[in-house]
Symmetry: C2
Subunit: 329 residues, 2 copies
DNA sequence: CTGTTAGCGCTTTCAG
DNA sequence: CTGAAAGCGCTAACAG
């Protein structure tokens, strides 16, 4: 079927070794021979068999990218960033998202062990000790996208959740002069959520301002319910800072239902700046994470690690956050 | 490093052939031998080397999924659907999106030829003759996600753009009693766009109603500009049916700017039902394509084709559309 | 500068 | 039911 290295060699009256050298741009081959072989290869429409090459090198041109189910909104941007950078280094991206037919764990174990991929990028806002152990034992380089500050010993890209939340809270207090703030958290196992909460609390404490916390789970519904609780007591907060935009939308829903007006009766702020936020009415004041570069950073780091170009034991990069001031507070 | 088949064989006092048979669940091996080998393999933490296996079979467990840059919103759902189905059949998904560093064409050519992948899913709303030719010559099965009715000879999943647009237009005329309708199209090379336009026109003609067409490009900005043109003449349409929701949002922007009210002064309808549409004010009446199954359908078909389980020369599946009636008309 | 050759880990005839 | 052995296409010593 497809032409092999043998045929090219035969037609060019050289050994397969020479052809192989040409393919790998080995400078030792004579210019003349080089040209001739390239010509014949083209003529035969010869393409090196990647499967064979990967096999003999025991190293593939494949990198795995594992994504959890949650972060729909970032999915696209991250994949694009990763793919773009990897492609330029000659790698392909295998994308896997955990879903009902496979757990994150089995996914990981197979990926790390079966030799298919040469490196792995793992986006996992939550990670349990077992998983971490499995990761530590990996024989291939891994780059984590995870915000847990306690997680050491990995190449890591983190979102700057803490500062984002801190600065937003600071803004709400200093500029908007709220004196009683509420925060709705995401799942407590989620590092992003925990750091946002911490940023919120620290800012409230710094300014000695009253605050309360509700436990949500990043879903719209939980935002709705938490908002309901917050507004049903006699002592109502002046502003709700939701742990993500989705929950902020849930707040919008409840607030509208109860006939209140944002931001006059109550303010709402979010985190993430998902696409829809600018179109809500009123448009949502929120924190934007510079997500577009996360995928690129991760891929960059991974490639360097694969190529042994990294001298430091592990790198940590922070994707900065930025306040997006709109009309909801 | 990692245990190989040889070591397992040696420890079990059998030949590597027998071990191989166990790995491939060959029923010929004796139950006893089978168990013993499985046990030893586990003990040695042996994982078959996929790179080697793929190589000798000259067939990988990899499938390519190529996506254009445009369709952000669907990206996620399609990848998930594909990944889910493929994973259950033992395949991995290599995702590639065309971007500034590679054109769709080079992407395709490499993918089809380098032997890395065993099948390809290509989401390409526009396709030129050259590309089609390249696809026809492919030695691996390809499933297209493309709505061009003229495109024959491929396994294909299509969106039911025509009926969606037709029924929406019919609704605008019969139920909402508009008598002068405008349509903003996407790029003319885009099949989805062309079919939506055709559905719109056919419905207008059927009901003998006045209509006009503006050429957009699926971007918000083009929606804005086309809307501006439509509303600046003396004879204004009663409703604008945008070729996608993004352009409908552009219309919203212009209409709000000019102080008009939707739907009292002018109606707006869209196509796609992207996430934001329900949160616009007023919420957008639009056409939803059942996108969630497209990825699954495509993967299903591809797997069957790879396994030679398909008797028909090529399959065509339609992803149906459904009207989503909200407040904007 | 080029050729010879071993071998990567596995599957798959072919014998027995 | 099991073993021996060939070989997939390529790379990488080693030899010349």
């Amino acid at each position: 079927m497809a032409a092999t290295i043998k045929e090219v060699a035969r037609k060019a009256n050289v050994s397969i070794a020479t052809v192989s050298r040409v393919l790998n741009e080995d400078p030792r081959v004579a210019k003349e021979t080089y040209k001739r072989i390239v010509h014949i290869a083209n003529q035969l429409n010869y393409k090196p068999n990647i499967l064979a090459r990967n096999f003999v090198k025991q190293k593939s041109n494949l990198v795995g990218l594992i994504l959890p189910e949650i972060i729909d909104e970032f999915f696209t941007e991250i994949i694009k960033g990763v793919d773009e950078v990897l492609y330029r280094s000659g790698y392909y991206t295998i994308v896997a998202s955990s879903h009902k037919y496979k757990s994150l764990k089995e996914e990981l174990i197979t990926f790390i062990n079966n030799g298919l991929i040469s490196g792995l990028i793992l986006l996992a806002p939550e990670l349990n000790p077992k998983l971490i152990l499995a990761l530590k034992k990996s024989s291939i380089p891994i780059v984590l996208i995870n915000s847990d500050p306690a997680l050491k010993g990995f190449d890591k890209i983190s979102l700057d959740n803490y500062n984002g939340a801190f600065r937003m809270t600071e803004y709400l207090i200093s500029k908007r002069e709220y004196t009683y703030l509420a925060h709705i958290t995401g799942p407590s196992v989620n590092n992003d959520s925990e750091l946002r909460k911490k940023g919120f609390i620290d800012a409230c404490r710094k300014y000695k301002v009253k605050y309360s916390i509700q436990a949500g789970d990043f879903s719209k519904e939980s935002g709705y319910n938490c908002c309901k609780k917050l507004l049903s007591g006699k002592n109502k907060p002046g502003v709700i800072f939701a742990g993500n935009d989705m929950m902020a939308i849930g707040c919008y829903d409840y607030i509208q239902k109860s006939g209140l007006k944002i931001p006059v009766d109550i303010g709402v702020a979010g985190f993430d700046d998902i696409f829809v936020s600018q179109y809500l009415s009123p448009s949502l004041t929120t924190v934007r994470i510079n997500i577009e570069n996360i995928g690129r950073h991760a891929a960059d780091t991974l490639i360097q690690r694969i190529n042994n170009e990294l001298e430091v034991p592990n790198v940590l990069r922070l994707a900065e956050s930025e306040l997006v001031i709109r009309e909801s507070v």
